[in-house]
Symmetry: C2
Subunit: 343 residues, 2 copies
């Protein structure tokens, strides 16, 4: 599979423009030290030839890499695909390409992905998945990312990650509080929680917010049923099954993300439980489809695309002495899936 000449190379451009390799390189990467006339000529030739820099060669030669790595738990989860869209659009504006890796919510896997990205000398690594709480492997990943940063690599994380890196922090705790507040305001007390696995910081933070808001109303979260399941649609469906079976008195379900809420709604529909009259359901994230469900889903909007875009923009900026932290807002989207508790 020996690949021959496919794309034109810098030498081709240089020759044709009658300049040296160095000059051509400078002209094309817009560095100074080239006369405008020459620069323009080189660029014209490059365009004419359809020249695109070979990222491998550039990276290997120590130039600024034009690839960023994006690590998501699962790309076909709308939460992540919306983040990815944000990352990709910013990357595009900067002439950067995006390598996507699945961690599949497996810290071991995530470590391997990080190693690959580091070995490939990417410009930056965006970790979009939730952090893990107190996990050995996470520590290995952390060490790897820290080393990457020490040698000039840039890292930005989305979510709480116990990592000295720029971070976009989704407003998980306040979002949880807003949602709990909303349900309590509607008169709910028998609230069940469809939770993702509690080794995810996202889950922990959302629960913390819920706990705080409930405590303000004299409700102890530990008295409420909590079913821990996969942080996915099917996990939500399963959690709702168990809630119906084991805690039939519940009047509301807080699902810790929209995927789980969608699963819960499916289960409730299958059981003929009317939403919201018999059971309110709320989620987190406001994925695109949430507003189009029937009943439309009450949830807390997190600006996913913006989060992805911001994460990459941070990572592309010069590093600051201390990590930047950008908090997202959240917006309670009250829709049709939540209503007053039945008299």
């Amino acid at each position: 599979m020996a690949r021959g000449r496919t794309a034109p190379r810098l030498v081709d451009v240089a020759e044709r423009a009658g300049v040296s390799l160095a000059t051509a390189s400078r002209a094309l990467s817009g560095r100074e030290g080239v006369s405008p006339a020459v620069a323009e000529r080189v660029q014209a030739v490059a365009a004419e030839l359809g020249y695109v820099v070979n990222a491998h060669a550039r990276s290997l030669a120590g130039g600024s890499a034009s690839i960023v790595g994006l690590i998501v738990h699962q790309i076909d989860d709308p939460y992540f695909s919306e983040i990815a869209a944000g990352v990709i659009s910013v990357a595009y504006e900067h002439g950067i390409t995006v390598q996507i890796c699945h961690s599949a919510r497996d810290p071991e896997n995530e470590l391997r992905q990080i190693r690959t990205l580091v070995a490939n000398n990417v410009r930056a690594i965006i970790v979009a998945g939730s952090g893990y709480v107190g996990d050995e492997v996470e520590t290995a990943a952390k060490r790897e990312l820290a080393a990457f940063q020490d040698t000039g690599g840039r890292v930005a994380v989305i979510g709480r990650h116990a990592l000295r890196a720029d971070a976009v922090l989704p407003d998980n705790e306040d979002a949880g509080a807003a949602l709990a507040e909303h349900l309590v305001g509607l008169g709910h007390r028998q609230i069940a929680i469809a939770s993702g696995t509690v080794n995810l910081t996202t889950v922990v933070d959302r629960l913390a917010g819920i706990e705080r808001a409930l405590a303000d109303h004299g409700i102890d979260i530990d008295d409420l049923p909590l079913v821990e399941a996969e942080f996915t649609r099917d996990g939500g469906a399963y959690a709702a099954e168990r809630i119906l079976a084991e805690h039939p008195g519940s009047t509301a379900i807080i699902a810790l993300n929209d995927a789980m809420a969608i699963g819960a709604l499916a289960t409730l529909r299958a059981h003929g439980v009317a939403v919201p009259s018999q059971m309110s359901v709320v989620g987190f994230d406001d994925v695109t489809v949430a507003a189009d469900l029937a009943p439309s889903l009450t949830t807390v909007r997190l600006p996913m695309a913006e989060m992805g875009a911001d994460a990459l923009m941070m990572a592309l900026k010069d590093p600051s002495s201390r990590p930047r932290r950008r908090h997202t807002g959240h917006e309670l989207m009250v829709r049709d899936s939540s209503g007053p508790v039945r008299a």
Copy 2:
């Protein structure tokens, strides 16, 4: 931003294992000509050091590239994110990483993305977006991809692309026929079509299937209202608005993908039009959420993840003398959004 030593290099492994660079290289890429004992030792050392090959160096040195490019229209469209998940999982098994590019349904943009991938000497390019019908720029993209293949690059497309490359062909035409057949069987005659832009081969093929099935029943598709709009949720919402306003007699809407169907359902709900009793709605693709909508969406399932996986597997195989073509099946998923026409 001069990056120092981050990841261990092959020399590090070689030194530590007490062998030459060449031997280490051979041992790690599993080529022959290395004694089993030595190979094992080298691999052990590599694992111990957490060594991962530098893809840039490998690619530049003429080794088989470990990156594939994936071009989608829009990653936060479930159709594409499910395809991407399939591609990524196969890539992972093969130790390959995936670069994702948005073409944003802009042929010009797509061309630029292809050029970048070619310049980066990727192992293969998977074009997941629909082809375009008779477009100048498409021709440029075609030329670029053909040249890439001529020099050993591998290309696989998903959809009809007028390109001499391995292809996964979604069963668009038969799917369209199945859906039209389904509606006619329910007694519908006043069928309106919410169509994506007709420069997409996907749209053209789905329409062809619909036309064929309708013709079998003596219905001329040209007599039916067709609203052309963006191939997205919002496009579907817009198309439904126009259908309601301009063709109030319609009893069914065929949306040419699920995203458009979801938009159409939203519009109908907003106008208080009951589905399916007043209006049936059907879509294409069977994105994950289709079954969880209320009413659940009647649609035609295309195995997106499998399509992505197959496309990459084809691209990774040795090229055959003639392009392979793998047809997907389709499966009519009759759900709650379609019903008999009201008496």
